[in-house]
């Protein structure tokens, strides 16, 4: 098992803020919009350096999405930011008609996704956003795994012409990816090569998958770990190559199992290479208040849950 170490823990939203600061300095067309959550989205540096390119929308997310669509007409690259729940389920029709169907170059950037939002509870813990967004034709969906990858993804999506949903979160987690990485949309990252089971993880679950890989190694199981940071377009080639080698798979995501990364992988496997797949995700339930660590444990989104899923997948191999 390849060793991954970290010297610090940071939140992925701060990676977004750092990426925005870079874009503020390098891309004059980038405009930031926010719906009364500037501090939570870590936009302070961007706003300080580019006050004329920041639009405070107030608590009106529908108007924010519509304005972002309008800003693209004239060549601006709007980054519309708020909590993931308010960036997706609250404004789904606005995103569908004004952004996706109209194919506008809007970057919907969403923090506080999933259970790890923590104490605010289920009203704010959106666990359906990846599914909703990936269903929209032409929408690119990205869920990076740590501070460095989020920063790199933020910079990369400004270069891409088309609507993007970028999802990140609130908890501080290990920073373990390369600070100088080049983010390639739609290209899976091989975290660890293995032979017995393929673990496909996204977002906060990637670090859990690495820990699971170490636990499996101690039991003599050689896990391949792949980071699917881009849910759509999905790197089918990487998924098929891995599962053809290992013969079984686990998906791991901070999202409902219905409609998430696991379902995207299942579609690929069902159509192109039938193999056992075990889901690690939230099972048709809402979240609740608690610390991020408590919630991840209670709802089965831990390294331990990935280990168990891996063993189940291996046992189902013919």
């Amino acid at each position: 098992m390849k060793k991954y170490t970290f010297t610090e823990k940071k939140d992925t939203r701060s990676g977004f803020g750092a990426g925005m600061q870079v874009l503020g300095q390098t891309n004059p067309n980038v405009v930031a919009l926010c719906a009364d959550l500037v501090g939570s989205l870590k936009l302070d540096a961007f706003i300080k350096e580019n006050p004329e390119r920041f639009i405070q929308c107030g608590i009106s997310e529908a108007n924010m999405i519509g304005m972002a669509a309008g800003l693209t007409i004239g060549g601006k690259i709007p980054f519309a930011t708020t909590f993931a729940n308010f960036a997706t389920s609250r404004v789904y029709d606005q995103v569908r008609q004004s952004v996706a169907y109209s194919h506008k170059n809007v970057k919907i950037c969403a923090s506080h996704a999933g259970l790890t939002l923590g104490e605010d509870g289920a009203t704010h813990q959106v666990l359906e956003d990846l599914g909703m967004m990936k269903m929209l034709p032409g929408m690119t969906v990205i869920n990076p795994c740590d501070y460095n990858q989020t920063k790199a993804a933020t910079i990369a999506i400004a270069e891409y012409d088309g609507p993007v949903y970028l999802r990140f979160g609130r908890p501080v987690i290990p920073v373990f990816t390369d600070p100088d990485q080049k983010f390639e949309i739609g290209k899976a990252w091989m975290v660890n090569e293995g032979t017995d089971v393929s673990i496909f993880a996204t977002g906060h679950l990637v670090w859990e998958a690495i820990q699971a890989g170490e636990m499996l190694e101690a039991e003599g199981i050689n896990a391949e770990i792949i980071n699917i940071h881009t849910i759509k377009p999905l790197d089918e080639k990487a998924i098929l190559a891995s599962v053809k080698k290992t013969g079984c798979a686990v998906s791991a995501e901070e999202h409902q199992v219905a409609g998430g990364l696991g379902d995207s992988i299942a579609q690929v496997l069902i159509q192109k290479h039938l193999a056992p797949l075990e889901y690690v995700g939230v099972k048709d339930t809402f979240g609740e208040s608690g610390t991020p660590a408590q919630l991840m444990e209670k709802y089965g989104l831990s390294a331990k849950a990935i280990v168990e899923a891996a063993k189940r997948a291996i046992s189902r191999k013919k």
Partner: protein
Amino acid sequence: MTELQSIASQVRRDILRMVHGCQSGHPGGSLGCADLLVALYFQQMKINNRKGKGGYLSFNMDGKGEDLFYLSNGHISPVFYSVLARRGYFDVTELATFRKLNSRLQGHPTTHEHLPGIRIASGSLGQGLSVAIGSALSKKLNGDKTLVYCLMGDGEQQEGQVWEAVQFAPNNNVDNLVAFVDVNGQQIDGSTKKVNDNRDLGAKYKAFGWRVLHVDGNNMDELTTLLRKIKRLVGKGQPIAVMMKTEMGQGVDFMMHSHKWHGVAPNDAQLEQALSQLEETLGDY
């Protein structure tokens, strides 16, 4: 008949024939707003008149240096399509494809089929004003002095997003924006008063900080006078809202004074009766 009135007469014929041709669509609001769209596209708006492929107006999505129009109540697409075609964005014969399979003239306007002149999809109501504000902000960031126009329905004012946008624009000095509300007092289920009364829309916009004007949207002289006045009022720190009184079904006697022709197509006899009331001025497609 003035030139604009004569164009409007042809546009009304186009609307009726398009809706009749596919036996679906929304003639009522389209007929009511024909005068405004003709006045905007044939007189008021600064439009790039350069011709491109096939002799049609060359269309650029970014619209820099041009006045831009956004139709928020997308169901009145027939009037939008007719005016765009008559203005030269595409061939008038294409109007015959309205709402038919493989057409660029979808039931509601869309950029998806790349019809020249369309910059945003609309149809799900309440979204156009936000888009227009974003477009106006984009112009400001680009130092582009041209204007943004938006048309909404009065029934549409029942959508919450409209009021998010109405609150935002004055607070952010979006003064390169002119929003028209088509006050015809009708919506699908009946009069707006009965369905969900908008009460005094002008007073509401004024309270939110807009400069509010009123006009008879079916009187071309009044309309063009108002539009000239608007050119002097923009750029003064306030967005402009026009409460435009119209008659749904304007120009066809049996379609007026009712909500019944909001989304119903005329049959053959009704079409003939309707067309007999509108002079063919530019030649039917």
